[in-house]
């Protein structure tokens, strides 16, 4: 195989994941502690939304790390599960009288379900796409293991009916002046 450069070094995956985790915990705990008691319901909703935002950030932060950014991916799944679980439970259970009107609670539940369905569709799409890659990688590896073939060996180079692109060479004739 010809020379191939080593991958460009990127930020270590555990560091990125740790930074995201600490930032999320500080924000969520701080928000819950700072809110007055009658704001805790909305605080839970906000933390759920924040968790989903961190899930998206952690997922995209995979691009910052080298070959296998498993920590970011794991963290993204954790935020994703936590965010949706929190939102579904918060909207589905009866809210305290001081917090949200029923109509907003139902609206929140519907929006959460729509977001969940959308994200599942995205996950399915990506999974289907990833499933097509191993056969392609195998085909590439097989090609790399083969001896290269010249285009003169292609069947397409010997099509009998293909027109010549220029007139045939003239017969040998006497020298010029």
């Amino acid at each position: 195989m010809a020379s191939v450069s080593t991958p460009v070094s990127r930020i270590a995956a555990p560091i990125v994941a740790a930074i995201l985790f600490v930032a999320a915990v500080v924000l969520m705990v701080g928000m819950y502690l700072l809110l007055p008691q009658n704001g805790h319901y909305l605080g839970l909703v906000t933390i759920g939304i924040l968790s989903l935002v961190f899930a998206a950030i952690s997922y995209l932060a995979q691009s910052l790390s080298a070959a296998n950014p498993a920590p970011q991916r794991t963290l993204a799944w954790a935020f994703y599960a936590f965010g949706f679980a929190l939102l579904l439970v918060t909207f589905a259970l009866p809210a305290p009288a001081y917090s949200l009107a029923l109509v907003w609670q139902v609206t929140g539940l519907v929006l959460t379900l729509v977001a969940l369905a959308g994200s599942i569709a995205g996950i399915a799409w990506r999974s289907r796409m990833l499933a097509t890659e191993p056969p392609r990688e195998a085909a590439r590896a097989e090609w790399r293991a083969r001896t290269p073939v010249s285009a003169f060996d292609y069947q397409t180079a010997h099509a009998p009916d293909a027109p010549a692109t220029a007139p045939p060479p003239s017969p040998p004739s006497s020298r010029g002046p």
Binding site: M1, L60, S63, L130, A151, P169
Partner: protein
């Protein structure tokens, strides 16, 4: 019908009369026409260079970000294969350009030595090389639109790269064929020169034939 591909070597035939010729024949036993040199096996034993891998490894953060977006991943991968194929084709075109330089040097030598008759043979060769080089340099990249009749997927693009790789070896062989041309032109043997030019023209013709059907060949829709 199986798609014509790069894996099966075709039997050698005369480019003029299409009669079968032996592996070591330099002239056709039927019509006496020159037979191009057999394909170079210079790269035999050495593994092919996979520029796709290099392009994949050198992806920046933005491209890696695009790979994570559902629905965008296949597009990004396709673009990267096209980029690798483009790098490859530019190198093939450069080799064709080198071959043309040899032919042009021979033309200058022939003019200086007063062998004007052979110029008539050389002119179509230079013309063919002039036509082939930009065709390879700016060839179709395998875009198939939103709702095409035949879709060009990433697997097709992979095969397109592998198909185009054969032209690197072929262009090297053409370059080798034409390398002695200026020296021959400086000599006095017009017959040898004409045989060499005829052989090179035949090779260029084969390359043109193979290149103009490249997309159809890799998609498996070429009817022959």
């Amino acid at each position: 019908m199986p798609p014509p591909g790069p894996t099966e070597p075709a039997p050698r035939v005369c480019p003029s009369c299409h009669a079968p010729v032996g592996a070591s024949d330099r002239f056709c036993p039927s019509c006496g026409g020159p037979i191009p040199a057999p394909p170079a096996t210079a790269a035999a034993g050495s593994a092919p260079v996979d520029l796709r891998e290099k392009v994949d490894q050198d992806r920046g953060t933005l491209k890696r970000l695009q790979l994570l977006v559902p629905g965008f991943r296949a597009y990004r991968q396709g673009e990267d294969i096209r980029a690798a194929d483009s790098i490859l084709r530019r190198q093939v075109a450069d080799k064709i350009k080198n071959a043309r330089t040899s032919a042009e040097n021979a033309r200058a030598a022939l003019t200086q030595s007063g062998q004007f008759s052979v110029l008539m043979d050389l002119a179509p060769l230079i013309s063919d090389l002039l036509t082939l080089e930009p065709k390879i340099r700016s060839a179709e990249q395998g875009y198939s639109g939103i709702s095409p009749a035949t879709r060009v997927g990433n697997a097709d693009l992979d095969r397109l790269y592998e198909y185009d790789y054969g032209f690197v070896l072929a262009a090297d062989q053409l370059d080798q064929t034409l390398a002695p041309l200026p020296a021959l032109a400086a000599g006095a043997n017009a017959a040898d020169l004409q045989r060499l030019v005829a052989s090179a023209r035949s090779q260029v013709s084969q390359l043109q034939q193979a290149f103009q059907v490249r997309l159809k060949a890799v998609q498996g829709i070429l009817v022959q």
